[in-house]
């Protein structure tokens, strides 16, 4: 978590720098800020996946949403059937929550990565400085990007908790 927290701090620093920067510089700072917010998301997800299965830490980041929606969700479904048969209602509830977290995490990863791609590969598409201290890129407000880290942290904890219980 430490590296992703550092990444979040760097992103936030870039966010504030972008707002305070001269007009000709602020676009570059703002793009970099989206890029760092994405990497904070990516690093947390990688850490979680690595805890779940060490071989997953080497998977390309673009495969994370499919991995979560495929192997991880299937493992949870199997465990849910087992828990349901044995009458473990608490575990069933936890698994349902973890499945919702998977869906939310997939959305955040795709949105964060898509915004990062626009920031890195589409320099002609300028960051929109709408109001004094806020900006957006391709309609993704920086406030939303700022919130990715804590949302991902919550979802990763939920998923990892169920994974550990299922594989204990």
């Amino acid at each position: 978590m430490a590296i992703s927290e550092d990444m979040h701090r760097v992103a936030h620093h870039l966010q504030k720098t972008a707002v305070a920067a001269a007009v000709n510089e602020r676009d570059s700072y703002a793009r970099s800020c989206y890029n760092r917010y994405y990497y904070s998301v990516f690093l947390q997800c990688r850490e979680m996946l690595s805890d779940m299965d060490s071989s997953w830490s080497r998977m390309p980041h673009a495969s994370y949403p499919d991995l979560l929606g495929g192997k991880v969700r299937r493992a949870f479904r199997t465990e849910r059937i087992r828990a349901s048969k044995s009458g473990d209602k608490d575990l069933v509830k936890l698994i349902d929550r973890a499945c919702r977290s998977i869906a939310e995490l997939q959305k955040i990863i795709v949105t964060a990565n898509s915004t990062r791609v626009v920031a890195d590969y589409e320099p002609e598409e300028k960051v929109d400085f709408v109001v004094a201290d806020r900006f957006s890129l391709r309609s993704i407000n920086v406030t939303e990007a700022h919130g990715w880290t804590i949302s991902v942290q919550t979802h990763c904890r939920t998923i990892l908790n169920v994974w550990r219980q299922s594989n204990a």
């Binding site: 673009a62 898509s114 391709r138 406030t143």
Partner: protein, 106 residues
């Protein structure tokens, strides 16, 4: 592979209007990233619906193009803010060091 403009036309034909042009995904071949704004009608139904979105994506998948959708959902974002506010009100001490401090330092 279809160009970004062609992908956009295909999506529009299926009733989807993404924000901006589809972007080629640098991490996956034959893959595009799109940003899609989701709104809600007066009955609370999502527009475009998940079904309509899935049909359009399947249509492009049949043509060999994978599409990843970044959803811009104002309602979900409002809900996140509402949950954060509720947590801050109910558990001020424990939330102070996470949600609230992040928001304040933003």
């Amino acid at each position: 592979m279809l160009s970004g403009v062609e992908v956009l036309h295909e999506l529009e034909e299926k009733g989807l209007r993404p924000v901006g042009l589809p972007i080629e995904n640098p991490d996956k071949p034959n893959s595009y990233l799109i940003f899609l704004k989701r709104t809600y009608d007066k009955d609370g139904n999502a527009v475009p619906s998940k079904r309509k979105t899935d049909i359009a994506i399947k249509h492009l998948a049949d043509k060999g193009v994978a599409v990843n959708v970044a959803l811009l959902d104002d309602k979900a974002s409002d809900l996140d803010k509402a949950v954060a506010a509720l947590l801050a009100a109910k558990f001020p001490a424990s939330v102070q060091s996470s949600v609230v401090s992040l928001e304040n330092s933003e």
